[in-house]
Symmetry: C2
Subunit: 283 residues, 2 copies
């Protein structure tokens, strides 16, 4: 446990990358914000690192609570291999959280990070107090309506504009919000390395397992009894918006928020609105 | 115009019933809360009067803005006949609002009050700034899944417990929230008269017209360009929850919030949560 750098003066920009060992993995993490309450542990999307979060979201939440960003096993600056299933990623995340000496956390996950957050809740017992699931779905997702494969295999100039297609709607207003997000995202200078081919392959394999058709796919949601805030864009082209409605309908205690004219990264389009909703929910 | 009684010291309990004339109708209304901003005009559900609102909601919103309750034409203490269509009810509501000398308002509607709120927005031009639609639907609603007819034709002892079936979920927690709501609702002593048989019949006829199947039923939603907050319970047995998702998907600028373990009157189950959401949205 290292607490020396967790002063409230650190931000998304300045929080140093620290390391903690668990499960034989050296986990990279950054920790900042208002200490003393239940921290929020952020779980990242496909191929993302700690640098892929929106400072407007992380620093926004950090005004009222402690924020913990980390790279799961094998991802970017964390050591080890990325496992090829979400239950294993969830187990690694729990080992990381416990290695920090934390007894209780809130978890936030975006996209496949939302799958990991669900696994943390399922496996973690009392470890998880509340859950925020953004742009995500449930096991046995019907991905017929997803344009994910097409969007991730296209080329973009600059390549970073992939994220305008993934996270933002086609409207001019949404695309402009996307450019503003990318500008915020790139402010930090000392950046995490991009993920390895091993991580990309393992995450892809884990996704295939997660979305495999299964008649009883939704049964596990009954076991996630924590208060959950499901957040989604009006037209998520990566994980169809309808899946968030299904999550709300099948989770025992879930509130759903859908934002207008938005896509997979709705919280990056409406960071202030989301931070206000999240603060209210996490009280 | 009467402004004498609109001091911020009045509340849901104490605001006197005032009257204003328009369209040949003498409209009964109550006005309280923080003056100076854009007032919120509340549009009531089937067979309801000004006394059917939840003081926890109205006084909650009144902390930050002016709240206007009223009875539409023919309803309770307002004179005239209740018309048998929502476009006519919307036109009457607009006449009432303009008779107060107001240039711009926010409108909130619950259930069929949400139909009226949509009509006010469609006909009112610049009159409406923002809209909150609670437990409501769109024209051409498929009401197959609704239990409305069954629930309104059963007998309840005391009769007031009808509203536990209409507004609250079967869970113990929700039913207890319902009893607390009824207690709040009945605190005010000088009460509006109950609605007439003419009102009940005309509202019923208007509902039949509104829900008549129509292939192009949703087209009108494109014309409601104002920012809209759609609020719903997880399982509305009166106007099925799915209709709120459809509203969000077809309105040009709508945010959707669905609360857990709740029914038609979700805002009466979660008044603090709703007031916080509404305050944030109405900024």
């Amino acid at each position: 446990m290292t607490h020396s750098n967790h002063t409230p003066t650190h931000t998304h920009q300045t929080a140093p990358t620290e390391f903690v060992e668990a499960n034989g993995i050296r986990f990279a993490y950054r920790r900042f914000g208002k200490p003393g309450g239940v921290p929020v542990v952020f779980n990242q999307h496909y191929t993302g690192t700690m640098d892929y979060w929106d400072p407007a979201v992380t620093d926004g939440l950090a005004r009222t609570r402690e924020v913990i960003l980390f790279n799961n096993a094998g991802v970017s600056s964390s050591s080890g291999e990325t496992p090829a299933s979400f239950p294993e990623m969830g187990a690694n995340a729990i080992a990381f959280i416990r290695a920090l000496g934390l007894q209780q956390v809130d978890v936030l996950g975006i996209s496949i990070g939302g799958f990991v957050a669900q696994e943390i809740a399922l496996q973690g017992g009392d470890l998880v107090r509340k859950i925020i699931l953004v742009g995500t779905g449930h096991r046995g997702n019907d991905m017929t309506a997803s344009r994910s494969t097409e969007i991730f295999s296209e080329t973009y100039e600059p390549p970073e504009h992939l994220w305008l297609a993934v996270h933002f709607a086609p409207s001019q207003v949404s695309q402009e919000a996307g450019l503003a997000f990318l500008e915020r995202k790139w402010r930090r200078q000392d950046r995490d390395p991009e993920v390895s081919a091993q991580t990309v392959a393992a995450q892809g394999e884990a996704i295939d397992k997660w979305i495999a058709p299964d008649e009883n796919a939704l049964a596990y949601l009954k076991a996630i009894v924590q208060p959950t805030l499901v957040v989604q864009g009006s037209n998520d082209v990566i994980i169809p918006t309808a899946h968030s409605v299904t999550l709300q309908q099948h989770l025992p205690n879930a509130e759903l928020v859908i934002y207008p004219d938005s896509n997979h990264g709705s919280i990056y389009q409406y960071p202030e609105r989301f931070v206000a909703h999240a603060e209210q929910f996490l009280v």
